[in-house]
Symmetry: C2
Subunit: 265 residues, 2 copies
């Protein structure tokens, strides 16, 4: 049996829909405060993590998939379940090393308990960005050059474990994605552009060597709206490494906004 | 005779005050739209650049210093002075390559005309950030570790010619400076922090290999206020590579805010 460990946003819903359509049984677990809008969610506090892993095993769960946005929850030491105690020093050790390192440790905890950790792309490969144009607007030569500059920026910043996106316009980098995420970055661009476009491209790529089972970058119709508000003319995605939530709505929104959206290797 | 090619912000004023105190004669030139609050400024449009360089020579100018913020002005081709025509293809060629490359070309144009280009630090070395604590608040071990992470981030991003600052808190990168500058970055942090501090550090460093004669990073009392609004606990500067405008007011503001401000190599 598969368990979705679900956070917020559209991804858990898209996965649930995909699993439902395929007739695959699954359960949904969620951290308190980040539960998705799905029925029959088992909510738990992070202090109970050790117990939850044991309970999953007892309930016949063999595979888990982390899906959707979760911020780091505050841990109240007084509420720790005894089974979580061995995990505290492990997680404390990596808590200052960036999200990637912390999430790899969380994966390891589940795997050591005998649970296989899958990525969203393992469950629903149809969500992955394809290569080539997604909509009707073809990217100009200028956009392609800006996309190449953005890809170079993300290749360099990737090992720093900072973020998975940037905005390039007129050959200049207007923003690099950090902890607050893509939408916050696009709002920053909308607020700070002296001359709000149209022009420039949002570049989304996974970090080089990133474990795609956790924190795979995702976009959707909201991303297109935010890119439009920022005056951008394009969105370029790393094919096979970015999830597109609601592809039809995303393509329709991009076409309506005159935004080129395409995948590259 | 020295000419300040002055933009906005506190730097041209600080240099004028420093030159005045030393009894050094100077003239002030400024791009239309970016003139500083100084008397007797010769304002010119970018289309007249070729003529301005010739006029400087005629007026006995031998040295120039670029000081203060200027955005890229719009060029109206119909207004180009004949002496500017040879500069157009040179500047167009590098206009998409980032600010550094463009500014190096501008420096080259002045130097080829026989004008020596000085940095603000050549004229007023007293403005440079010193090594060690600037104010009364000592940086904690946590702040020093965050400062080291920020320095590493800027060492990696430096060659990309993106910006000269970042914000690190709790081991995580909250923001990387891009075109809109330090204040815009700090406003972004203030807006997006889920838990606005206090904590975290603003890191300011020159880009590795940067020509300090143009676009040397600068901070001042306003930077301290913006860092305080973002909930930060420290500001760390690359000694000898950052200008501090109004050092007394900057130190007083940092002490009053309980912000550690210090220089490192």
């Amino acid at each position: 049996m598969l368990a979705l460990i679900a956070g917020q946003g559209g991804l858990p819903l898209a996965l649930a829909a995909s699993l439902g359509a395929a007739g695959t049984p699954y359960r949904v677990y969620a951290l308190e405060g980040f539960a998705p809008d799905l029925p029959q969610v088992t909510v738990f506090r992070v202090e109970a993590l050790g117990r939850v892993v044991r309970d999953m095993r007892k309930a016949g769960i063999t595979e888990v998939c982390f899906a959707g946005a979760m911020q780091r929850p505050k841990v109240e030491m007084g509420k720790l379940h005894p089974l979580s105690l061995p995990l505290v020093p492990r997680l404390m050790k990596v808590i200052g090393d960036g999200d990637d390192r912390l999430l790899r440790e969380v994966i390891a905890i589940f795997e050591e308990a005998g649970l296989r950790v899958l990525g969203a792309h393992d469950i629903a490969p149809g969500l992955l960005a394809p290569k080539g144009a997604l909509g009707d607007v073809a990217p100009s030569e200028t956009l392609r050059a800006e996309a190449a500059r953005g890809a170079e920026i993300l290749r360099v910043t990737g090992p720093l474990d900072i973020g998975q996106g940037c905005v390039v316009a007129g050959g200049l980098c207007l923003a690099i994605e950090t902890l607050p995420g893509t939408d916050a970055m696009l709002r920053f661009v909308a607020q700070t552009r002296p001359d709000p476009g149209p022009g420039g491209v949002l570049v989304k790529r996974a970090k080089p060597g990133q474990d795609l089972r956790i924190d795979m970058p995702a976009i959707g119709p909201d991303t297109v709206a935010a890119a439009q508000a920022a005056g951008l003319a394009g969105i370029v995605l790393q094919a096979g490494h970015i999830l597109i939530l609601d592809r039809d709505a995303t393509r329709t929104a991009a076409d309506a906004a005159g935004i080129a959206i395409w995948g590259v290797t």
